[in-house]
C-alpha cells in the first residue's frame, strides 16, 4: 500500500518530522518498507498563466495560437491541445524552463509562427498520466506564480506492507493512528456534519443476511461531472490510483483516506428498494468492465426491485454506472463480510482496492463517515444538493470486554511494562481500557479484528514498546550432543558418499507415471490434483529416474559421467506407517554409478566400474549388510539384488536393464540402488570395534584357485577367516580371471599370531591346512601358491 506524507499530515502533524524517522517508526510498528521515494518537482520555472485569446494558425490545422498572460507579460504560444477555451488558467513553460526529465524549452518556430514556449499537460510535468490535453487549474490561481508553489511537489511516498490481520491500517487514517502513539501526537477529526436539503427517492434494506452488517446510502442531485481538484488528483495519482472524474476520484479518495470503500450508482437507473442477498445459481450480472458474470450462490449481490446492480464489495454493475449523462447519484457505503467478498473476488479473479479492504475487514462503524467525507469533498467544489443518509444497519457486531492479569505481560515478554506506558498507548490507539494494579480490562474498537484475547493486547503493547528495546537471553535446550537418529544417518551416508566421488543432488519431487512404473510398478503413485505441470503430476515412488535424468543432463551438457546420490522422500499411496490419513512416505537414499566414470584427475581421465563398484559402495555404507539376488523390474536379470540388514530388507540395487539403457538412449550402463533409510537405525551401521595389533611379524601367502563360474569368493574368505580366527588377519582377493573355459581366483592371506613369530615349518603347515580345507569344502583346485609373496 502507498502512503503520502502530506496526506498523513491531514491526520497528524508530522510535517516537521524527518521522513527517515517516519520510516523507522513505520517499520518498528510492523509495516515493512518496500520503498520510500522523496518526491521533488520533475520540472523547472513553470508559471501559471491565463489564456487571453485563441486564434487560428495561418499554416496549420492541428494547432492553434494562444495569447497567454503570465502576470507580468503576455506571450504568444502555439498549442496542439484543444481541451481549453479562452479564460483557462494553465501551467506555462516559457523559454529557459524545463519540463519532465530535464527537457529544456526554447523559442521555436512552428510553421512560420514563433512560439514562446508551451502550455503543459499533467503528463508533461510528470504529475500523472493524462493524455486528454493540457492541465486546467483553478481560475482563482494567481497568475505568474511558480507552479511548484501551488502544487505540493515536495513530498515523501512510502510503499509499505500491511500484514493481513491489520485491515484497519489500509488507509492514511489507520497509519496515522498508529504513528500518533509513536510520535505522541493527537489525531485530527476530519469530517463535517451534513445539512441535507433533498428527500430520498430510493429505499434501502440490507436484508437479513449476516454477510452485510450495514448498508448506508446518500443521494446527490445537481452535481456536475468534472475533473476533481488538483490536490485530489495529485494525491490519488501519487498512491497509484488512476484519475478519472470527480465522482470516481472522490470514492477512491475516501477509500485511501479512511479505508471505507464507496460505490456510486446513477440513481435514475435504480428502481424501488436496494437490498442485499446471495445470488441465485447462474444468475447473470454485467459488470462495469462489460463482462457478463455468471454468478453462484456464494456471491453476495446488491439488487434493486428489478435486477442485480452490483457484486457486493467487488465490482459495480454496468447498467447502473455513472456516465457523463448521469444527473443524480446514489452513493453506497456498506460493510460486507470478508469471507463473502474474498470468495467472489478470487473466483472471478476481480481484485480491487475495495475488495482487498473488505477481505481484511473494514471498520464496522465507518460507513456514515465514509459518506460524510464524500459529500464534504464534493461540497468544497460544487453547490450540490443531498439527502439524508439512509442507514440500514443491524449492529450485529459487538465486542466483549477482555480481562487479564498484568503479570501475564512479563510472563510472555520477559520485561515489565509500566502503567504509564500501557495507559498512554491504549489511549492513543483508542482502545477503551481500564488498567488497575493487577488487572487490565479492554474492549476492542470497531476497526480492530485482531484484539480478541489477552495475548493480542500483549502483542500490541510489545509492538509499541519496540521489539528492539527488549533485552536478549539465551536459553539452552535439553538435547545436548544429540541430533537424533534421522540426522545422524543422513550425515553418515553423505559423509561416506561425498568422499567416494559421488555428487549429492537435490531434485524436484514430481515425476510422470512412466518413471514410477519403470522401477516400482508394485506401488501406486500419489497424484497431485492441481499440478504445476500436467506432465509431472505424480510424486516419485523411487529416486532412480531423477538420478538418471541428472546423469544424462550432465553427460549431455558437461560431457561428464559421474556418480550421484540423493537423500529425499519417496511416496506411495499405501497407508503411512505411523500417521493416520496420509500416504506412505519413506526417507530414501538413491545411488547411481556409471560404467565409465569421469575421474577428477586429468592424468587418468576415466575409471571403469562394474557391479562390484556398487556392491562395495553399499558394503562401505552398511558393513553388516547382505545381498540376495532377486530380479526386479527395470534391472538386469542377474545383477539385481535385495539389500538386507539383520534380515530386514532395506533396499535394492543392481544394473540398469539393457532394455532400459537402450530406451533411455544411454551410452553407458548404470549401476543403481534405492535404499529406505527408515528401515534401519544409525547404530546398526557401526562396525567399528578395535582389532588389537600383534607385535609379531606377518606371514603372507598368495593362493590361486581354479574355481567354478558361480563360485562366491566371500565363501572362501569366510572359511579362511574361521581357520585363522585366533589371528590378526588381512584377507583379500587380488585377482579374478575369467575366460570361456576357466576362472581363477587369487587370494592373498596376511596373518599374524598374537603370541609368537611363526617358524617356516609352522607357516607351511598353516598354508597346507588352508589349501586342504578349501579344496575339500568347495571342490576347487589350487593352481599356484607363493609364500611371503610380495
Amino acid at each position: 500500500m502507498k502512503i503520502l506524507k502530506s496526506w498523513l499530515n491531514d491526520w497528524i502533524d508530522i510535517e516537521d518530522i524527518n521522513s527517515n524517522d517516519i520510516s523507522e517508526a513505520l517499520e518498528s510498528l510492523g509495516f515493512e518498507i518496500e520503498s520510500k521515494t522523496e518526491k521533488t518537482p520533475n520540472y523547472k520555472n513553470i508559471l501559471v498563466g491565463k489564456v487571453l485569446e485563441i486564434y487560428e494558425h495561418p499554416n496549420a490545422d492541428k494547432v492553434r495560437i494562444t495569447k497567454v498572460d503570465v502576470g507580468s507579460k503576455t506571450y504568444e504560444i502555439v498549442c496542439g491541445a484543444w481541451n481549453f477555451d479562452v479564460g483557462a488558467v494553465v501551467p506555462v513553460a516559457l523559454p529557459k524552463s524545463e519540463i519532465k526529465d530535464g527537457f529544456k524549452i526554447n523559442k521555436r518556430d512552428i510553421r512560420g509562427v514563433e512560439s514562446n514556449g508551451m502550455i503543459c499537460s499533467a503528463s508533461e510535468l510528470d504529475l500523472w498520466d493524462d493524455h486528454s490535453g493540457i492541465l486546467k487549474l483553478s481560475s482563482e490561481t494567481k497568475l505568474g506564480s511558480d507552479f511548484s508553489t501551488i502544487y505540493s511537489s515536495n513530498d515523501t511516498l512510502w510503499e509499505i506492507g500491511v500484514t493481513p490481520n491489520r485491515g484497519d491500517c489500509m488507509s492514511h487514517l489507520g497509519i496515522a493512528r498508529e504513528l500518533s502513539n509513536y510520535f505522541n501526537l493527537s489525531l485530527q477529526e476530519n469530517s463535517n456534519e451534513l445539512k441535507p436539503n433533498i428527500e430520498n427517492v430510493i429505499k434501502v434494506n440490507s436484508g437479513r443476511i449476516k454477510a452485510c452488517n450495514s448498508y448506508q446510502s446518500i443521494e446527490i442531485e445537481n452535481f456536475k461531472l468534472d475533473d476533481s481538484n488538483l490536490n485530489i488528483r495529485y494525491r490519488l495519482s501519487a498512491v497509484g490510483v488512476r484519475v478519472i472524474n470527480n465522482v470516481v476520484d472522490y470514492t477512491n479518495y475516501v477509500l485511501h483516506d479512511i479505508g471505507q470503500p464507496l460505490h456510486a450508482f446513477d440513481r435514475d437507473k435504480l428502481f424501488g428498494t436496494i437490498s442485499v442477498r446471495f445470488a441465485k445459481d447462474k444468475e447473470i450480472l454485467k459488470t462495469l468492465d462489460e463482462q457478463e458474470r455468471k454468478l453462484d450462490t456464494n456471491d453476495l449481490i446488491i439488487t434493486d426491485d428489478d435486477k442485480p446492480i452490483a457484486l457486493a464489495g467487488v465490482m459495480g454493475g454496468y447498467d447502473t454506472e455513472v456516465t457523463d449523462k448521469t444527473n443524480n447519484l446514489l452513493i453506497e457505503s456498506a460493510y460486507f463480510d470478508k469471507v463473502s467478498v474474498m470468495k467472489t473476488s478470487r473466483r472471478l479473479n476481480l481484485i480491487s482496492d475495495a475488495s482487498i479492504r473488505f477481505e481484511r475487514g473494514i471498520d464496522f462503524n465507518l460507513q456514515k463517515q465514509g459518506l460524510q467525507r464524500f459529500v464534504n469533498l464534493f461540497e468544497n467544489e460544487q453547490d450540490i444538493f443531498y439527502s439524508n443518509i439512509i442507514d440500514s444497519s443491524k449492529n450485529a457486531i459487538t465486542y466483549d470486554e477482555v480481562k487479564f492479569e498484568k503479570y501475564e505481560i512479563e510472563q510472555i515478554l520477559g520485561v515489565e511494562l509500566d502503567d504509564e506506558f500501557i495507559k498512554n498507548t491504549l489511549t492513543k490507539l483508542k482502545i477503551e481500557a481500564e488498567v488497575s494494579d493487577t488487572e487490565i480490562r479492554f474492549t476492542s474498537p470497531s476497526w480492530r479484528y485482531d484484539l480478541e484475547r489477552p495475548i493480542d493486547l500483549i502483542e500490541e503493547l510489545a509492538k509499541h514498546y519496540g521489539f528492539n528495546n527488549f533485552s536478549s537471553t539465551l536459553p539452552i535446550g535439553n538435547n545436548l550432543n544429540s541430533k537424533g537418529d534421522y540426522w545422524d544417518k543422513r550425515l553418515y551416508l553423505s559423509k561416506i558418499l561425498s568422499s567416494s566421488n559421488f555428487y549429492e543432488t537435490q531434485t524436484l519431487s514430481f515425476t510422470d507415471s512412466y518413471s514410477n512404473e519403470l522401477f516400482t510398478p508394485e506401488k501406486t503413485s500419489v497424484k497431485v490434483i492441481n499440478p504445476i505441470d500436467r506432465s509431472q503430476e505424480y510424486l516419485r515412488t523411487n529416486l532412480i529416474p531423477s538420478l538418471i535424468n541428472i546423469y544424462k543432463f550432465n553427460v549431455e551438457n558437461n560431457n561428464h559421467s559421474n556418480r550421484y546420490y540423493e537423500i529425499n522422500n519417496v511416496y506411495d499411496d499405501s497407508n503411512h506407517k505411523i500417521f493416520k490419513d496420509i500416504p506412505n512416505q519413506e526417507y530414501s537414499l538413491g545411488l547411481l554409478i556409471p560404467e565409465i566414470e569421469t575421474v577428477d584427475d586429468d592424468r587418468v581421465k576415466t575409471k571403469s566400474n562394474d557391479i562390484n563398484s556398487l556392491t562395495n559402495t553399499i558394503k562401505k555404507l552398511f558393513p553388516l549388510c547382505e545381498f540376495e539376488q532377486l530380479s526386479r523390474p527395470g534391472f538386469h536379470k542377474n545383477y539385481s539384488y535385495l539389500i538386507k540388514l539383520e534380515n530386514k530388507i532395506v533396499g535394492y540395487m543392481g544394473k540398469l536393464s539393457y532394455k532400459n539403457k537402450s530406451e533411455m538412449e544411454l551410452e553407458q550402463s548404470l549401476y543403481i540402488a534405492q535404499i529406505n533409510t527408515e528401515n534401519f537405525e544409525f547404530k546398526q551401521l557401526e562396525d567399528n570395534i578395535y582389532t588389537p595389533l600383534s607385535p609379531y611379524p606377518y606371514i603372507k601367502f598368495d593362493l590361486s584357485f581354479s574355481v567354478a563360474r558361480d563360485f562366491q569368493a566371500s565363501d572362501l574368505i569366510h572359511l579362511i577367516e574361521s581357520i585363522l580366527k585366533e589371528n590378526e588377519n588381512n584377507i583379500s582377493i587380488f585377482d579374478n580371471f575369467t575366460n570361456e573355459k576357466t576362472r581363477n581366483l587369487g587370494i592373498r592371506i596376511v596373518t599374524r599370531n598374537y603370541d609368537k613369530t611363526y617358524t617356516e615349518a609352522e607357516s607351511t603347515q598353516i598354508l597346507e591346512m588352508i589349501v586342504k580345507e578349501a579344496e575339500t569344502k568347495f571342490k576347487i583346485k589350487l593352481n599356484r601358491r607363493a609364500e611371503n609373496a610380495t
Partner: protein, 330 residues
C-alpha cells in the same frame, strides 16, 4: 733407497677417479690403491728391510700417502654422490601450475550443507532434529496452525493438494513438524526440523515449487520473548559472523503471537529479512493438548534464502538443475 714416486701414484689416482661412472667402483679403486696387491702394500713389505731410522721416516711417509689416497677417494665419492643427487633433482622440474586434479568442493549439495550448518548451530545450544511427513493433512498444515478456513494460503492456486476433498496436501511450511512433534512428545521441547516444502509456483529465477525451510520450536516453562530474541541473535551471529547487526520488526503469522521478522544488515547497508518467528500462539498449544504452564517460541528460516545470501547465488533454478558446474562449486 729407491722410493716410489708418490706424486705419480696420486696423479694416476686422480685420473682413475675421474673415470668413475658408477658408485660401486670407489670400493674397487680403494682396493687397487691400498689393498693387498697395491703398490703401497708392496712398499710396506719393504719396510722390514730398512734401518730403524729409515723405517720410521718411510713408514710415516707411506702412512701419509695411504691417508691421502683414502681421503681423496672418500672426497671423490662424496662429490660423485652429491653430483648424482643434484642431477637427479635437476631433472625433476614439473610445471606445478598445471592443475590435474579437477575435483572441487565437497560434493555435497549446497542446500544440504547450509541445512547441516544451521542444524549444527542449534544443536550446539541443545536442539535435536525432528522430522515429519511432506504429504500432510490440511489439518496439520493449516487448522492446527491456527489458519482460518477462509485463508488465501489454502487456495488451490497456492497449495498443491493430493486429494479432491482438499484434505491432504504437500506441506507448505515445515511448521507442521511442530504439531507432529508436540502430538507425540511431552514438553519440554527443543527441536529443529529441516525439510522440503511445496508451493504452486513454476521453477524460475526467484521461485521453486520445492524449497527448504528449517523450523525451530522451543517449549518449556518460562520461555519468553526475550529468550526468542537471544536465541535467534545467537543463530544469526553464528551463521553470518559476530559483527552482523540484527533487528526484529513486528509481523503476522497465524500460529505465533507476538510475531516478528528478523532482518540483518548486509554489507551494502541494506536490511534483509532472513527469518520469521514468534511466541507460539496459545491456540496451537491447546490443539496439541499441552498444559498452560508451558509456552515457548518458534521460528522458520528459508534454506535457499540463506544459501543465496551466503554464496551470492542469484537464481533459485540453480539449486534444482544439478548442473555439475554448479554442484562442484560447493
Amino acid at each position: 733407497m729407491a722410493e716410489l714416486n708418490f706424486d705419480k701414484v696420486l696423479a694416476s689416482l686422480k685420473l682413475r677417479l675421474d673415470e668413475i661412472v658408477d658408485e660401486a667402483e670407489f670400493d674397487d679403486v680403494l682396493k687397487e690403491y691400498t689393498g693387498k696387491d697395491s703398490l703401497l702394500s708392496v712398499e710396506r713389505k719393504k719396510l722390514s728391510t730398512l734401518s730403524k731410522e729409515d723405517k720410521k721416516t718411510y713408514g710415516e711417509k707411506l702412512n701419509n700417502v695411504n691417508n691421502s689416497i683414502t681421503s681423496n677417494i672418500k672426497k671423490a665419492e662424496q662429490e660423485f654422490i652429491n653430483k648424482k643427487y643434484t642431477s637427479l633433482e635437476n631433472e625433476e622440474n614439473e610445471d606445478i601450475t598445471i592443475d590435474w586434479i579437477t575435483r572441487r568442493g565437497t560434493h555435497r549439495h549446497v542446500i544440504s550443507q547450509v541445512m547441516d550448518e544451521v542444524v549444527e548451530i542449534f544443536a550446539s545450544i541443545g536442539y535435536k532434529v525432528a522430522f515429519g511427513p511432506e504429504v500432510e493433512t490440511s489439518w496439520h498444515n493449516f487448522d492446527a496452525l491456527n489458519t482460518p478456513d477462509w485463508h488465501p494460503a489454502r487456495y488451490e492456486s497456492d497449495t498443491l493438494y493430493t486429494d479432491h476433498n482438499l484434505e491432504t496436501l504437500l506441506r507448505t511450511q515445515t511448521s507442521t513438524v511442530q504439531i507432529r512433534h508436540m502430538e507425540n512428545n511431552d514438553p519440554p521441547v527443543y527441536i529443529v526440523a529441516p525439510g522440503r516444502v511445496f508451493r504452486s509456483d513454476q521453477l524460475d529465477a526467484t521461485h521453486s515449487p520445492v524449497f527448504h525451510q528449517l523450523e525451530g520450536l522451543a517449549i518449556d516453562k518460562n520461555l519468553k520473548f526475550t529468550d526468542l530474541k537471544g536465541t535467534l541473535e545467537y543463530f544469526v551471529k553464528q551463521f553470518f559472523g559476530e559483527n552482523i547487526e540484527t533487528k526484529f520488526i513486528p509481523h503476522f503469522f497465524p500460529f505465533t503471537e507476538p510475531s516478528a521478522e528478523v532482518l540483518v544488515k548486509w554489507n551494502n547497508g541494506e536490511w534483509l529479512e532472513i527469518l520469521g518467528c514468534g511466541m507460539v500462539d496459545p491456540n496451537v498449544l491447546e490443539h496439541v493438548g499441552y498444559s498452560k504452564e508451558y509456552q515457548g517460541f518458534a521460528w522458520g528460516v528459508g534454506i535457499e534464502r540463506l544459501a543465496m545470501l551466503k554464496y551470492q547465488i542469484d537464481h533459485i533454478k540453480n539449486f534444482y538443475e544439478n548442473d555439475l558446474r554448479f554442484l562442484e562449486q560447493f
